[in-house]
């Protein structure tokens, strides 16, 4: 009997943006031409993005990697007999032994890049739905206690303890409660949420289901940004599959619990990532930020108690319920427990997804993992935590990844995105963009944000054209203070942080251009 060789070619957006579809087609066509039996499986991405499209061949049960593969390399791969794992210029050896991957601790991303994202069988064979099985044997209080004990803090940016949020919803009596997943992932330099949704959608479904079971919510929404069409499609298909298999709907896995899930598509407003604006949007309104109190946990979606969490927070719940709070808590540093999914992006030689226990130095991520800039020039600045995060200076690169340690140097871990710039960057232009972005995306509710950001752009322009530079620098700082103290949410309240980081660490750029 002729045996068929399994070849994995990622279906992830970034892999496809570099030609993975053409590679998959070329491999299938070349196999047919040669009369060899090959089964091409479209897996998710391992997150070693500089090596994408990363093709893997299963040889005696071991996955051998080749990358980055172009469609034009396929004939030579067959010639070299890559189906037996043979040597080739693009050969990388066993995937799991690639240093970048071997040094990671993949808990939330345990299956990402390994399985076929839409195969429920794959999901279960790789540990999926064990967390829910345990949760169904526990009381709501016990589930919430496990999440609290794990030390998990919100991965969307604010790092609020997830267990405390869930406890509030559990304790709020109501005829209807909701679980909302914030999949608006608007920060530049981030894609962890997208990867989960495209590469392991069932883990998010499982995490949300556990949330529903824990607090007594019967309906969930995944609010996904419109810029992620593939994530939207994959999540919708996965939800249908889970429903058909009895993991969603009435009587989840034969239990007394009901949990329904629906994807809602966002419409291109960054502010809708802010949780109360997101809830307004889900209700069919403009995404205007709400005053607090009441907290969403008490009066959230349609006025009902609502868990609202980031994709990564929810996708981390299954492993906590599967392996226990202590298992998760034993990773990490200080009050930052578990693992962080760092997204290394921008001008970087080896960009990608790095899941690692909190406590790793920023320098190690930039140089040992990242290998320095893509352009080969020195790193001048790194923006951490999205468009509202400070630009970090090389003198701060020894900071350890830990929410409190980053905060202590005026920086932010946020959603774990790092954007690297080389020494050709004009930091004044970056400061200007921070204000410009705030002006474009402001919901308009508060004057310091709506008008202040527009003024900020003007003042920076004046500084750059040499107009009253000294007075305008003072004015810019005052403007930043006004925005920080007079804004309702973190868009207006934190957009000054990148600007001030430029004033403080890169003052030489904040002057008239030659």
């Amino acid at each position: 009997m002729a045996t068929s060789t399994t070849v994995f070619v990622p279906v992830d957006t970034t892999a496809r943006s570099l030609g993975a579809d053409a590679v998959a087609a070329a491999i299938a066509a070349e196999a047919t031409r040669r009369g060899v039996s090959v089964q091409v499986v479209r897996n998710g991405s391992r997150g070693l993005y500089w090596l994408e499209p990363l093709v893997e061949v299963v040889v005696d049960g071991t996955r051998m990697a080749y990358g980055p593969v172009a469609a034009s390399d396929v004939v030579s791969l067959f010639d070299a007999n890559f189906l037996s794992g043979a040597k080739h210029a693009l050969a990388l050896g066993p995937t799991e032994k690639i240093d970048y991957l071997a040094r990671q601790t993949r808990l939330t991303f345990a299956r990402v890049g390994i399985i076929d994202p839409l195969s429920l069988d794959d999901y279960r064979q790789h540990g999926g739905y064990r967390g829910l099985a345990n949760a169904l044997k526990m009381t709501g209080e016990q589930i919430v206690a496990a999440v609290a004990d794990s030390g998990l803090r919100g991965r969307g940016g604010a790092a609020f303890p997830t267990g405390i949020k869930w406890k509030t919803v559990l304790g709020a009596p109501a005829d209807q409660k909701y679980v909302v997943c914030n999949a608006d992932e608007g920060d530049s330099g981030t894609f962890a949420d997208r990867m989960i949704m495209e590469s392991d959608p069932f883990v998010l479904i499982e995490g949300m289901t556990i949330g529903g079971v824990a607090v007594g919510a019967t309906k969930g929404y995944v609010y996904i940004r419109a810029e992620y069409p593939q994530a939207i499609r994959t999540m919708r298909t996965a939800i249908e599959t889970a429903k058909a298999a009895g993991y969603l709907g009435a009587g989840v896995q034969g239990s007394q619990y009901t949990f329904d899930l629906e994807v809602r598509e966002a419409a291109g407003a960054y502010i809708c990532g802010e949780e109360t604006s997101l809830l307004e949007s889900l209700e069919g309104k403009r995404g205007m930020v709400r005053y607090r109190p009441p907290l969403p946990a008490i009066k959230g979606l349609f006025g009902k108690p609502t868990i609202i969490n980031n994709v990564m927070s929810l996708a981390s719940v299954p492993v906590i319920l599967d392996k226990g709070a202590d298992f998760y808590k034993n990773f990490g540093s200080g009050r930052s427990r578990g693992t962080l999914t760092i997204q290394l992006t921008g001008n970087i030689k080896q960009g990608g997804l790095i899941e690692i226990a909190f406590g790793v130095p920023l320098r190690e991520i930039l140089y040992d993992f990242g290998g320095g800039t893509a352009t080969g020039r020195p790193i001048r600045a790194v923006q951490s935590g999205g468009p509202l995060g400070a630009y970090m200076h090389p003198s701060q690169f020894d900071t350890l990844f830990d929410y409190e340690k980053f905060a202590a140097v005026g920086a932010m871990v946020g959603h774990g995105g790092l954007v690297v710039f080389d020494d050709t960057v004009d930091m004044a232009e970056q400061a200007r963009f921070a204000m410009e972005f705030c002006a474009i995306e402001s919901c308009g509710k508060c004057t310091p944000c709506r008008i202040g950001a527009v003024r900020g752009v003007e003042v920076i322009d004046r500084i750059r054209s040499g107009e009253n530079a000294t007075a305008n620098l003072v004015l810019l700082r005052e403007l930043c203070d006004t925005m920080i103290s007079g804004s309702l949410c973190a868009l207006g309240g934190m957009a000054p942080f990148p600007v001030m980081s430029v004033l403080n660490h890169f003052p030489e750029d904040m002057r008239a251009r030659a």
């Binding site: 570099l18 921008g346 001008n347 990608g352």
Partner: protein, 153 residues
């Protein structure tokens, strides 16, 4: 109302009524309209408002709040250029200038031959392989001026 407008109005009413019963139905309805018609025409504001029992001002307010909804027909293909920081670090500003000159339009405009509309976007989640461009729903990574020429051939 001419026949084309009549047909459009019927389609809008069908899409609105199909989801009117859902909680928070407005955004899904607007998406359905834009998916089918290509944009959200003025008539949609009136019909959707009637169907959902909202004021026209409310519906109009929602349509204009969200960058993704357009109120005018777009080109055959929409080119979304990422302007956010990770792409900036890899030359997105120069690519943006190139794209504008090449297509001879600014953002939110459509080429004279109706082939392309140009829209800014703030991150496509492709930041490890910047700069990124999306054409309709297809994302491209590490886009150079030359690659953009090939993509928009």
């Amino acid at each position: 109302m001419n026949q084309g407008e009549q047909k459009q109005a019927t389609a809008i009413r069908r899409l609105a009524e199909a989801r009117a019963g859902e909680p928070g139905a407005l955004l899904p309805i607007l998406h359905a309209i834009q998916d089918e018609i290509g944009y959200v025409p003025d008539t949609a504001v009136r019909i959707v408002a009637e169907t959902l029992n909202l004021s026209r001002a409310e519906v109009h307010g929602v349509v204009t709040f969200y960058h993704f909804f357009r109120t005018k027909p777009a080109g055959k293909q929409t080119v979304y250029l990422c302007r956010a920081e990770a792409c900036q670090s890899m030359g997105a500003r120069a690519l943006e200038d190139y794209a504008r000159r090449k297509l001879n339009i600014d953002f939110h405009e459509t080429t004279a031959d109706g082939r392309f509309s140009l829209e800014p976007v703030y991150c496509l989640g492709n930041c490890a392989c910047s700069p990124a461009v999306m054409v309709d729903e297809t994302v491209y990574g590490r886009v150079t001026a030359q690659r953009l020429d090939e993509i928009l051939k």
